[in-house]
């Protein structure tokens, strides 16, 4: 790689997309590339994290960028003292998120090792006990969030408050609820990373060892050795399948197939066995429909429990397939047998000395790996789902108070601006004047909405400045698949040609018609056997994996959701292509080679 000329532009030379000029004011000062720090920021290599933030951020949504990155960092740098890695520096450019891992100075690494051994060693040594406690903490916090509600200010303070001498009014409850919700979500993000970095570190150790034994082993083979088959991430999809079977068994499937969700449920309720099915549906909803079709990081994420048409749509897809005799269930026994076979066959090819080391590292990886998968359900899907639901209630309440005209207006404000709005609301109510914000925010929200839309019209630049000769930050490699090879691919991706290269994420070869999707709302467009091409997928897309032929994503490492789910469903997948969703158009015929990591446009 030529290191003399920068491979990617400087953030300071990147222009705003047309119509998005002035986007900078949407985001806090600390998230922006500041001209006063140009020399420093140009020295660093930044990559666009479009895996977690595939769309431009609305101002409010900066909250989970802040929390996620701060909390990831704290575990590396302050809790565990991961020897070579501190946190990940982050910026927003043209609405997209850029990361730059912060390495520990080489001379400081040694001194951190004893602390890491002590601190991380404690977690590894007491993993299951600590994790059981983690689950308790998280569930308690979800319950606490769930109990929060926002109530519009009443005409007058309740008379009994007056007579009881309370001496306070209803505005406190709003401030408290808002602050509490933010505080709880901040804590939830700390819990999110409490085990995650360690999980990845143990897996990476196993991964590196196996690669050392078998330098050409496909990444996916190593992943298959540790991946679970009963991850809670698969539960929502499994629940829908069970409901489909139950509907057929009870003879209520016909009633489910048409009309709105309410109409279908009413039709089922009217059937002789209807009540039994409705009870099963209600039981599945909580908690398993706390499941987003995004990744939980956006205020636009749709959660099944708030949009029952999504699970109903999947149900209506499964019922005819099940009736046609198709096995819709995941073949968990076969997957387990396959995992054992793969593990045993590689192990067989090792020396006895290596086998012993392999057993130790595999054991730890399998202990920690369920967390890597399951945490996603508890945090991103369940806890953050509750958070967004409450915040949406607040946005609607403030709309009704005259601050904006649309239900989602609040999300075009930064979370600290919302705190000002609450004050405006409280003060206007107390003083007896209309809120000032009604003269300011309706237009400002419209303007900002247009800015965010303009930012979304252009794909982000994959990286900024010059990459280091080698990428060494372990979590960057693990989570985002950012390796020296990947960067070479991005650089080469501008070249003409029908070939698209990415990571060989799940094995197999499939030829078929492409369906390019940019948002989960388009999932219904997918036809059986088509190849899903998309910037990034989420676990809740699982039901569509039962009918597609292969998957291709722009972003994603060996442990990205698309890779995990495709391996589970036995579908070929190529991830981290950088540009597939831009190069490929719906209707093109493709050959997806999940062994070689290539996608070929056939015509």
């Amino acid at each position: 790689m030529d290191v003399k000329k920068p491979l990617f532009p400087s953030a300071f030379d990147v222009k705003a997309p047309e119509g998005a000029e002035g986007w900078q004011e949407l985001y806090p000062y600390y998230t922006r590339f500041q001209p006063a720090r140009r020399a420093e920021d140009d020295e660093k290599f930044w990559f666009c994290n479009s895996q977690h933030w595939p769309n431009p951020l609305r101002p409010f949504d900066v909250i989970f960028l802040d929390f996620a990155i701060k909390c990831l960092g704290q575990y590396n740098s302050r809790h565990l003292l991961v020897p070579p890695a501190n946190g990940i520096d982050y910026r927003i450019l043209n609405g997209f998120v850029y990361f730059s891992p912060v390495a520990v100075a080489p001379e400081d690494i040694e001194a951190r090792i004893p602390q890491f051994l002590d601190r991380a060693g404690h977690y590894y040594g007491n993993w299951n006990d600590l994790l059981a406690n983690w689950k308790k903490k998280v569930l308690a916090m979800i319950a606490e969030m769930d109990a929060i509600s926002f109530t519009a200010l009443p005409e007058v303070v309740p008379v009994d408050w007056v007579k009881d001498g309370v001496g306070l009014d209803n505005t406190n409850a709003i401030f408290e609820a808002y602050d509490k919700l933010i505080e709880l979500s901040y804590k939830i993000w700390q819990y999110h990373f409490e085990f995650l970095n360690l999980g990845y570190a143990a897996y990476l150790d196993f991964f590196g060892f196996v690669k050392g034994e078998f330098p050409t082993i496909p990444d996916q083979a190593i992943a298959k050795m540790v991946q679970g088959v009963d991850s809670e991430l698969f539960r929502p999809d499994d629940e829908i399948k069970k409901l489909a079977r139950l509907a057929i068994e009870l003879g209520v499937d016909g009633a489910l197939m048409t009309g709105s969700v309410d109409e279908a449920l009413a039709a089922v309720a009217a059937q002789p066995n209807g009540a039994k099915w409705i009870a099963a549906w209600d039981a599945a909803k909580d908690p398993w429909f706390n499941f987003t079709s995004g990744n939980g990081f956006y205020s636009t994420d749709k959660y099944w429990i708030d949009h029952l048409d999504i699970p109903m749509g999947y149900l209506r897809d499964y019922i005819p397939r099940a009736k046609a005799g198709e096995t819709i269930e995941r073949p968990t026994e076969r997957l387990l047998a396959e995992r054992d076979r793969i593990t045993a066959e590689y192990r067989e090819m090792m020396s006895p000395e290596a086998q012993e080391v392999f057993d130790g590292k595999l054991g730890l990886s399998r202990t920690v790996f369920p967390y890597v998968e399951d945490h996603n359900f508890y945090i991103e899907h369940w806890a953050l789902g509750v958070f967004w639901r409450k915040m949406r209630e607040l946005s609607v309440m403030l709309k009704d108070a005259g601050f904006w005209e649309e239900d989602d207006g609040m999300f075009f404000l930064h979370r600290n601006e919302v705190r000002d709005i609450l004050w405006d609301y409280a003060a206007g109510w107390a003083i007896g004047t209309p809120v000032v914000g009604s003269a300011v925010w309706p237009d400002e929200v419209k303007r900002r909405r247009a800015l965010v839309a303009a930012l979304g019209a252009e794909s982000p630049i994959p990286a900024l400045n010059t990459p280091p000769a080698v990428i060494t930050e372990p979590f960057t490699i693990m989570l985002w698949g950012i390796t020296s090879d990947a960067i070479e691919r991005w650089v080469g991706s501008d070249e003409a040609g029908d070939g698209i290269a990415g990571m060989a994420a799940a094995p197999g070869v499939h030829e078929g018609i492409a369906r390019v999707l940019r948002s989960p709302d388009q999932l219904g467009e997918l036809q059986k056997g088509e190849i899903l091409v998309t910037p990034v997928t989420a676990p809740s897309w699982a039901p569509v994996f039962g009918k597609i032929g292969a998957a291709v994503t722009d972003i994603g490492g060996m442990m990205s959701h698309a890779a995990i789910v495709c391996r589970e469903y036995g579908l070929p997948a190529v991830t981290g292509t950088g540009t597939a969703s831009a190069k490929i158009k719906t209707g093109m015929r493709l050959r997806v080679d999940g062994n070689a990591g290539t996608v070929t446009i056939l015509d």
């Binding site: 690494i109 078998f214 083979a221 060494t472 693990m478 020296s484």
Partner: protein, 363 residues
């Protein structure tokens, strides 16, 4: 033991105790047959048969006489002696009991298959004392598409004679291996009507990588691949995941196929439509890979497998193993010790974090 059992053994009856008297090739065919691997049926002509031939005609003394005082470095002299010995062996009838046993075994094969004068391959099956790479290098004769008992008996004798090629004789002289102590067995095996055939190694012969299976394949019988007359299609398969990693499709200009009229295998040009397309489907590639993998597991070491796809058998049952022998080059190399000791436990994790694997650039 009857005379027939002494001189011939059907593959499915070859036991471990018989290995010394049937040679490596027949032993492997016997083992594969008994392990349920699809192998074309056939029988071994044992070393006892060859021994009987030598004894019956006093050939040992004759051979020794021809080679008395031979100078291993004088290739002309060796060549003349070797040629004379081969002529002497070919000039004698087989002992009656031996010939009867071969005819009976062949008749049994034909009856079982329901084919009169069934075409067979007659190949030498070297014993341990023999030239180590003799069979591999095609030093000993192989006769394809042999039909009828007379021809089979004749070709068995030709195989015996091929024990005395100039090169083999010179090798034994040089290494002080008593010439007449070296015995030979012969395999008589149903001829495969090969649509395609080739070899499979249960490791990558270029790197010794045991996680790969590498397959060379071409149209027709596998001899074209083994002898290097055609550049075969080459497939690399991930051994554990059983996934095809890459395919190199070559221009395969000639093929060796049986000619029933001539009663022999003939070399002919491959028609244009087939020359540049893969001679195996993906399913067939995977079937060959699984066969190699199975044979590696059975023999507990990497294998070099000859196989063929029989055009006369239904898909799914048409892959036949013709031979399996231990891979010798990489398997005998001492395994490279890891450069540094394995990092175990917490220190393993620290080492990994400090030097993550993905940080290494390719190539």
């Amino acid at each position: 033991m009857s005379a027939n059992d002494l001189y011939t053994l059907p593959f499915h009856t070859i036991g471990t105790a018989d290995h010394n008297r049937v040679g490596g090739k027949c032993a492997s065919l016997g083992e594969m047959t008994q392990a349920g691997v699809a192998v074309p049926p056939g029988f071994a002509v044992t070393t006892d048969a060859y021994q009987a031939m030598l004894d019956h005609h006093g050939l040992k003394a004759e051979i020794e006489r021809h080679l008395a005082g031979a100078d291993p470095d004088n290739l002309d002299q060796i060549d003349r002696a070797a040629q004379a010995i081969r002529i002497r062996i070919r000039s004698h009838h087989l002992p009656e009991a031996v010939e009867a046993a071969i005819r009976a075994a062949y008749a049994g094969m034909c009856a079982e298959a329901g084919i009169d004068d069934m075409p067979v391959a007659v190949r030498s099956s070297a014993t341990a004392e023999d030239l180590p790479d003799a069979s591999f290098a095609g030093q000993q004769d192989t006769y394809l598409w042999v039909k009828g008992a007379d021809a089979v008996v004749g070709k068995v004798r030709d195989c015996w004679a091929s024990l005395y090629t100039t090169r083999a004789v010179a090798y034994r002289e040089k290494n002080a291996i008593p010439q007449v102590d070296v015995l030979m067995s012969v395999a008589v095996q149903k001829m495969v009507n090969a649509k395609a055939a080739g070899v499979a190694m249960s490791l990558d012969p270029n790197t010794g990588d045991r996680t790969k299976i590498v397959i060379d394949a071409s149209w027709g019988l596998g001899e074209m691949v083994v002898s290097g007359v055609v550049t075969p299609d080459n497939f690399r398969v991930e051994k554990v995941l059983e996934e095809i990693l890459d395919r190199k499709i070559s221009d395969k200009h000639v093929e060796l196929v049986g000619d029933p009229e001539l009663g022999e295998a003939v070399e002919r040009d491959v028609d244009d439509a087939r020359r540049k397309i893969a001679c195996l489907t993906d399913d067939e590639v995977l079937a060959v890979a699984r066969l190699a993998k199975r044979l590696e597991r059975q023999n507990k070491c990497p294998q070099d497998v000859e196989w063929a796809i029989d055009a006369d058998l239904p898909a799914g049952e048409n892959l036949l193993a013709l031979q399996s022998r231990p891979e010798t080059i990489w398997s005998q190399k001492p395994k490279e010790k890891p450069k540094s000791a394995y990092g175990v436990g917490m220190m393993g994790i620290v080492n990994t974090l400090n030097n993550p694997v993905g940080s290494k650039t390719r190539g």
